[in-house]
């Protein structure tokens, strides 16, 4: 798998990865009508994963796959154990969303060595055993966020970002955002803060920044809880800072549509497409199990921008 080359946005279709071996193996299994597939979502405590899960379920039912979905609790150790559990239950393929690129390599490779087809979604692993990955292009998402900031700001404006560098997908967004924003000499990138997944912490960060810089023009929040916190602080301070969120959760859409209220500040959202991620990875698993090949080993689902124009869709 070569991921680096496929930085281009959009659904990238690389060479179909089909080897003699895998094809032969799947041919064997093809006799047994129904396949059993296992999924490990990052955390059931996140809307994003809940939406992916919903899409997975829908797709599995549509394709007639027997499925098991487990909660990885954002803990690689737990995911590692769960891969074992799914293996013990004779899944034909497993898809998981790793926490970060370091992934749960040994468990993935052990499962793969037992002939289980391994897939990743949302965030992949450095392991070569991964047959296919489907997930958001977070770096691109960060770039989109920066573009939105630039679109909404004028020369001389000061902007900030609230991130969560510990989470690798969020770090990618930071990378993309900073890549664009730092190249811009007429916009001052003034603050960066870590909200550690706690909306209340994001609120405090924003409050402190606004004390120092009441005219802060925009803040890019690399996660909806951060946007929620930032919004609360901005409203309380009576500032005019615009919020660009990330995730595309229902609350973001609701906020953007509320033009008389929250929509005055929360104007734009970089949306991931969790349903697309869920259904894509399920499709690819099915395709691999039935035909022995996938469309591409690295499918990026492009994030898109939600504004008042398309929020209602």
């Amino acid at each position: 798998g070569s991921k680096e080359e496929e930085a281009a946005p959009g659904v990238v279709t690389g060479d179909a990865t089909e080897t003699e071996e895998t094809a032969a193996k799947t041919a064997d299994d093809a006799g047994s009508e129904s396949y059993k597939v296992g999924f490990i979502v990052g955390s059931r405590e996140h809307v994003f994963y809940n939406l992916i899960e919903a899409a997975i379920e829908e797709k599995c039912q549509e394709l007639g796959l027997e499925y098991i979905i487990l909660d990885g609790q954002l803990d690689a150790n737990v995911m590692s154990d769960e891969i074992q559990d799914l293996t013990a239950q004779n899944c034909d393929a497993i898809a998981l969303s790793c926490n970060d690129a370091a992934g749960v390599k040994p468990a993935i490779e052990a499962a793969s060595a037992e002939g289980i087809a391994m897939f990743t979604f949302d965030c992949t692993s450095e392991s070569d055993a991964i047959i296919c990955f489907a997930g958001t292009d977070n770096t691109e998402g960060g770039r989109l966020g920066a573009q939105e900031v630039l679109r909404l700001c004028k020369v001389g404006d000061k902007v900030a970002m609230i991130g969560y560098p510990t989470a690798s997908s969020v770090l990618d967004r930071q990378t993309g955002f900073e890549e664009v924003i730092k190249a811009q000499s007429d916009i001052e990138y003034k603050f960066f803060g870590d909200y550690a997944g706690d909306a209340n912490k994001a609120q405090q960060l924003m409050e402190d920044w606004l004390t120092q810089e009441p005219d802060l023009a925009a803040v890019f929040c690399a996660g909806d809880p951060a946007a929620t916190g930032a919004l609360a602080a901005i409203k309380a301070a009576g500032a005019n800072t615009l919020v660009i969120g990330f995730d595309g959760n229902p609350e973001a859409k609701t906020a953007i549509l509320d033009t008389e209220g929250n929509g005055k500040w929360w104007v734009s959202e970089i949306s991931q497409n969790p349903s697309e991620i869920g259904s894509t990875i399920t499709e690819q698993m099915h395709k691999y199990l039935t035909t022995g090949s996938v469309d591409s080993d690295f499918i990026l689902i492009e994030p898109y921008i939600i504004t008042i124009d398309n929020a209602a869709e």
């Binding site: 809940n50 550690a196 909306a199 209340n200 409050e207 402190d208 004390t211 609360a232």
Partner: protein, 327 residues
Amino acid sequence: MNSKIKRWVSKNVVVIVLIILCIVFGLSNDTFLSGRNLINLTSQMSINALLAAGLTFVIILGGIDISVGSVAALAGIASAMAGLLFPDMSIATSIVILIVSGVVVGGISGAINGLMITKFRVVPMITTLAMMSIARGLSYILTGGQPVYGLHNNFAWLGAGRLIKTESMPNGIIPVITIFTFIVVFLMHTLLSKTVFGRHVYAVGSNRQVAHLSGIHVNKVVFISHVLCGITAGLGGICVASKLQNGQPAACEGYEMFAIAATVLGGTSLVGGSGSVGRAIFGCAIIAVINNGMNLMQISSYWQKVVIVAIILAAVILDMSQKKNSK
């Protein structure tokens, strides 16, 4: 004279640390000592102050409650869900919804803790560890992991509103949450330091057997203290929900540690028998000042944690050694 100063210092380590911190941050950052930032500070320390106020009771009893963060989250969720039932709430309605949710959810959680401890004799650590998991689990089960959003703006009045609006500060100067916290803390402080019940709390914490033999209903005192601790945790949680204008199932995760730290910083001994709500608030102030100062100075959040802990430890050790000397 000299020994008098020494005694004063030993009694007020936490105040001195607070002043030193303020000076350091004031010198290294222009914004820190601005009136606006100081007012922000009072609102930022509010949640922790609410949690610590009730926790002080439990810790004086020689117990512990590590469920406060989770109970706060559950109360926040409950208030937000209740809030959704009133799409056009007035400020008054919102306050009623919030406070009732906080008191009921917090009170019930605290009562369960109290019951387990007094009736079933489960140690506080295990009881509240269980409550921590259960309350957090419920928050997720109730919400399916999604934040509860779409609340009326008035819902945010308690947590994010400000009073005394001026030309230069059109949103107001004094945070409502600060006033609310002040009232709750004042009530809790009064209850502990000025009432018979408060004295009984100290007595039970100091020597349970003596308290019992002096006719104090020990189990009742323990039970009520846990209920109070649950209620202030609940109130902390609804303040977060109001402040963010939504209910986050992941809210207040790990806040119990900050609350415990603040209480201990305020001189409340984990062995029980001594402590004060008022002083715990100084502990909260120290933690808030460090966070705020380091935010302003843009110091990485990883370092913030380490620095906070180092200061807490230093204060506790200083306090210990002072107490040893005076013995």
